[in-house]
């Protein structure tokens, strides 16, 4: 059976996302986890259990549940081997701390068993979480298959996260006949088993059924060359309670003794704990080399002969392991020359190891870590390095692998942070300082981060020559520090240094960790944007978006899209900004990145766009959402964006004082930002104008630069409002519109000219200009400029033909034939907000009495997204409850 290659070749319809061949941490999948253990020669097939297991093909859920060593795994493996179709086998791992990793492995197990899972289903990018939409896509995909996929999860008791149980149940339920789930576990899983039982949807094999009968016990002993009358077997079953591991050990110990019969009698009469006593018996009869191998291997989850040799410092592991697997059940063969100890024996052996060689464990972990580092399995290397307490080594492994970016990308950044949180001050290598710096910068502790970073850099310049990976890691952290400090110069230096260093680093490492370069360029783009160098920023950020589209780079891509959205917004392209910001949100949803992962800039851009459209409730909701998600990064650019959106929202609501308070700089930066300053000054002017101090406002405005154009037109409008007509027109005339500025700039410019014309009594020109502005603004739903324009524009908008241009987006349309005008058509409300397409979708399903969860599953979005849509539907329809929303929508003819 195929084990963990990248599945069968897939003919995808259309360009779907590529199927990842690495797990969410960017590491190759551990093939051994997709392999059911091969049965040893002494395995006894018990037909009654196999027949019962055949029911598993008919029920959605099967649970095989019993004590350690009850023979669960071998029973299911043997049954699966006898089926006509391949089975997706996954041995769960305690190290998979998160649902993301769990589901990534489940998807890979399905593909490894030949189940067609198109790339479009997606793949979790973050080890810690998985997106509900991905699970819905998987369930939908499986339910469409004509043959159910059989999924076996072995050692399911190691899955402790309640959300994984809940997600499994979701997929199982929605996959219908497309999935058969077999859980092999020591403990009762957190699934609503009573429901499955009541509906007859579950096959259950529990401890009592797994216990050996006297006849089976006799047959098992016969396999070990021991002939026992059934009466004696009965006594043995009484003593061991039919426990498979006990009987097997018993057979092994008896096999080795000169007089098996007597030995068994003594054991029956003894009162020792079964496994403990028998394992010691069996162990002491092995050769010294075999004992040593078994004891030392007990620190490993799984091992190959070479790794075992590294622990024993001998060279005989291959032969010993093959023999152990052949002769008894200590060692399970996972194929591809990988083995593992039986979980029960492994635990007992570890207890023996601690007694026999106290203090040897850390040394064994260190050797395992060193071997794994050479063989290239980073997570296992780090886990063993940490278990050995060798932090210099562990940090060095992370840095040399160029994996320091993983501390930031949401891919297991929590696990890594947790792992390194145990690192004490005794670790002094440059690598450990780099890890500390990364940790501090991730928490936005700039001073602490820089202190560690500079110490590492000083040490690196005097240290060994083979430093490129560490220096490149330094460059990344320098760029991040520069971004947090708003220092474009330092970011450029770091990027230039990184460019030099990349040549010295093997290509395969760079390819393995695309997140490092992507993160660095994102930081660079962010500082360029801060400094107002939009085009250069766009160049760096576009490179990030063009980078490889795996989960590893999902976070930098999200950030880059969010920053590009901000550039579009600042240039006056609302719809473009909105598209990019939504794409940024989708990017992280597709890879199930945790919210908040980056700076959350895209929500802030969406809020700013919503203010310009006068969708104030929506803007408020987005700002609240962005504030509630407490972004991981608080750097100048998003903070400035937050100030702009917040201050403009407050201005739109007429709260001038609060707007002025919100417009101040939120984060200190090394260099000023032209656009951030300009926006703050505009809010200050609005406050002056609102307080009736036009002369103060005019004074401030005269000193304002003409860049960026989006600000310049607003300055001109404020100058006009302050009575400085000449200055305003001059400013508009000198505006550089080089094709980069969008409709928001053109509309505002046209309105300034129109207002000036109107003031001069040239009504025809004013009308022409307003018409032009309306045409430009209608596509973008850009409403604020008209609402801010002042009283002069009202009469104009009320006359034909301009009235026709405003209907339906700026003013309510004419009432439908034969209906009374609805309350939203009250002339006082200038604006009615249309429902977006998604909001209509939700509303239609609401009318079909679907629950939030059902709507979410139906639309392949998260429940939170549905709630957000619902909120804005309620707001737009001016209702507070579901029933009212449906009734109101019917009144308005929306359904």
């Amino acid at each position: 059976m195929p084990a963990g290659e990248n599945g069968p070749g897939l003919d995808e319809n259309g360009p779907g996302p590529a199927i990842p061949c690495v797990d969410p941490l960017g590491d190759p999948y551990l093939r051994t986890r997709f392999a059911p253990p091969a049965k040893p020669a002494t395995f006894l097939r018990r037909e009654r259990l196999v027949r019962h297991l055949d029911q598993a093909l008919l029920t959605p859920l099967t649970m095989v549940n019993g004590a350690a060593g009850a023979g669960k795994t071998l029973l299911v493996a043997d049954w699966a081997a006898g089926l006509e179709q391949p089975v997706a086998w996954l041995t769960t791992d305690a190290a998979d701390q998160g649902p993301g990793m769990f589901w990534a492995y489940v998807l890979q197990a399905l593909r490894a068993s030949g189940v067609l899972v198109p790339g479009g289903v997606g793949c979790p990018a973050d080890a810690r979480s998985v997106d509900r939409k991905l699970l819905a896509r998987l369930a939908a995909e499986l339910s469409g298959h004509d043959r159910p996929a059989i999924v076996v999860l072995d050692e399911y008791d190691r899955v402790t996260a309640p959300e994984i149980a809940e997600q499994l149940e979701f997929v199982l339920h929605h996959a219908g006949h497309g999935m058969r789930l077999v859980l092999v576990t020591r403990t009762e899983p957190l699934l609503p088993l009573h429901r499955y039982r009541a509906a007859g949807d579950m096959t259950e094999i529990r401890g009592a059924e797994l216990a050996f009968t006297p006849e089976e016990a006799a047959a098992l002993l016969e396999r070990h060359g021991l002939c026992l009358p059934v009466r004696a077997a009965r006594a043995l079953v009484d003593r061991t309670q039919g426990w498979a591991a006990g009987l097997r050990l018993c057979a092994l110990a008896a096999q080795e003794s000169p007089d098996p019969e007597t030995y068994l009698k003594e054991f029956e009469a003894g009162r020792s704990t079964v496994a403990d006593y028998l394992l010691a018996e069996v162990l002491k009869r092995q050769t010294v080399e075999t004992q040593d191998l078994l004891l030392r291997a007990s620190v490993l989850e799984r091992f190959c002969p070479d790794l075992a040799n590294a622990l024993t410092e001998r060279t005989d592991a291959e032969a010993l392991l093959a023999e152990l697997h052949r002769e008894n059940a200590f060692v399970e063969d996972l194929g591809h020359a990988w083995y593992r100890l039986h979980p029960l024996f492994r635990e007992i052996l570890r207890a023996h190891l601690r007694v026999r060689s106290p203090g040897l464990e850390p040394e064994l972990h260190r050797r395992a870590a060193q071997w794994l580092r050479r063989s290239g399995s980073l997570p296992e290397t780090l886990a063993h390095g940490a278990a050995a307490g060798d932090w210099d080594f562990t940090a060095g492994a992370l840095v040399d692998d160029l994996a320091i970016g993983q501390l930031f990308t949401g891919l297991r950044s929590d696990d890594l942070a947790e792992l390194f949180s145990r690192m004490g001050p005794e670790a002094t290598s440059p690598a450990s300082d780099l890890v500390r710096a990364a940790r501090d910068l991730f928490r936005c502790d700039l001073d602490g981060g820089l202190a560690h970073l500079h110490r590492a850099e000083r040490r690196l310049s005097t240290d060994l020559p083979d430093l490129a990976a560490a220096q490149l890691s330094c460059a990344l952290l320098e760029a991040l520090a520069a971004r947090l400090a708003g220092s474009p110069v330092r970011a450029e230096e770091a990027a230039a240094a990184a460019e030099e260093l990349r040549r010295e680093i093997p290509a395969h490492l760079l390819d393995k960790h695309p997140e490092l370069t992507a993160l660095l360029l994102t930081h660079l783009g962010s500082t360029r944007l801060w400094a107002g160098r939009f085009e250069e920023a766009r160049a760096a950020l576009s490179t990030v978006i063009g980078s490889s589209r795996g989960g590893a780079t999902a976070l930098p891509r999200e950030e880059a899209l969010g920053h590009l959205a901000l550039i579009d917004y600042l240039n006056g392209w609302l719809a473009r900004a909105e598209r990019k910001a939504l794409a940024a949100l989708t990017e992280t949803e597709r890879f199930s990145l945790p919210q908040p992962s980056g700076s959350g800039i895209e929500r802030l851009v969406l809020a700013a766009v919503a203010v310009d459209r006068n969708e104030l409730g929506q803007a408020k909701a987005l700002l609240d959402e962005a504030a509630a998600s407490r972004p991981a990064l608080r750097d100048p650019v998003p903070e400035a964006c937050r100030s702009i959106a917040t201050a403009r929202l407050l201005l739109a609501r007429g709260d001038v004082q609060a707007a002025r308070a919100a417009a101040g700089p939120a984060v200190s930066a090394d260099v000023p930002s032209p656009w951030a300053d300009a926006h703050a000054a505009l809010v200050a002017c609005a406050a002056h104008l609102g307080d009736g101090r036009p002369d103060m406002a005019a004074k401030v405005l005269r000193q304002m630069p003409d860049d960026p154009p989006a600000c310049a037109v607003e300055v001109a409008r404020a100058q006009l409002a302050a009575g400085d007509r000449v200055a305003a027109i001059d400013r508009i005339d000198s505006l550089r519109t080089d094709g980069r500025t969008g409709p928001a700039v053109a509309v505002r410019a046209a309105l300034v000219r129109a207002q000036a014309a109107d003031g001069a009594g040239d009504f025809a020109t004013a009308r022409r200009l307003v018409a032009h502005a309306l045409l430009e603004a209608r596509r973008e739903r850009l409403r604020r400029p008209f609402l801010e324009a002042g009283p002069w524009i009202r009469p104009l908008l009320g006359t034909a033909p301009l009235q026709g241009l405003t209907e339906g987006w700026l003013t309510p349309g004419p009432p439908r034939h034969g209906e009374p005008p609805g309350p939203e058509a009250r002339p006082s409300s200038l604006v009615v907000e249309e429902l977006s397409g998604r909001e209509r979708d939700v509303l239609q399903r609401l009318a079909q009495m679907m629950s939030t969860e059902e709507i979410a599953a139906d639309l392949f979005v998260s429940a939170n997204t549905v709630k957000t849509h619902l909120k804005s539907v309620y707001r737009k329809l001016a209702v507070n409850r579901r029933n009212d929303a449906v009734r109101r929508a019917r009144e308005l003819g929306l359904l």
């Binding site: 020792s272 403990d276 010691a280 635990e347 207890a351 601690r354």
Partner: protein, 65 residues
């Protein structure tokens, strides 16, 4: 909190060392592990440890302080 956990059979000294935080005493076909338990998490951890070592828990109770 102090607890005692009774397991079936006589545990070896070696295996008893897998519970370094507890004392143990062997009696009439059972082994009693007893000692301070920090909290619930610790308690369930002890049960899981018994299970992974193939020990059968017969009784578990909190001791009066």
């Amino acid at each position: 909190m102090r607890y005692e956990i009774r397991v079936d059979g006589h545990m070896s000294e070696t295996l008893a060392k897998a519970f370094p935080e507890l004392d143990h005493v062997v009696m009439s076909g059972q082994t009693v592990l007893f000692g301070p338990v920090v909290d619930e998490a610790h308690l369930y951890g002890l049960l899981a440890r018994c299970r992974s070592l193939g020990l059968r828990v017969v009784e578990m109770r909190q001791l009066p302080e």
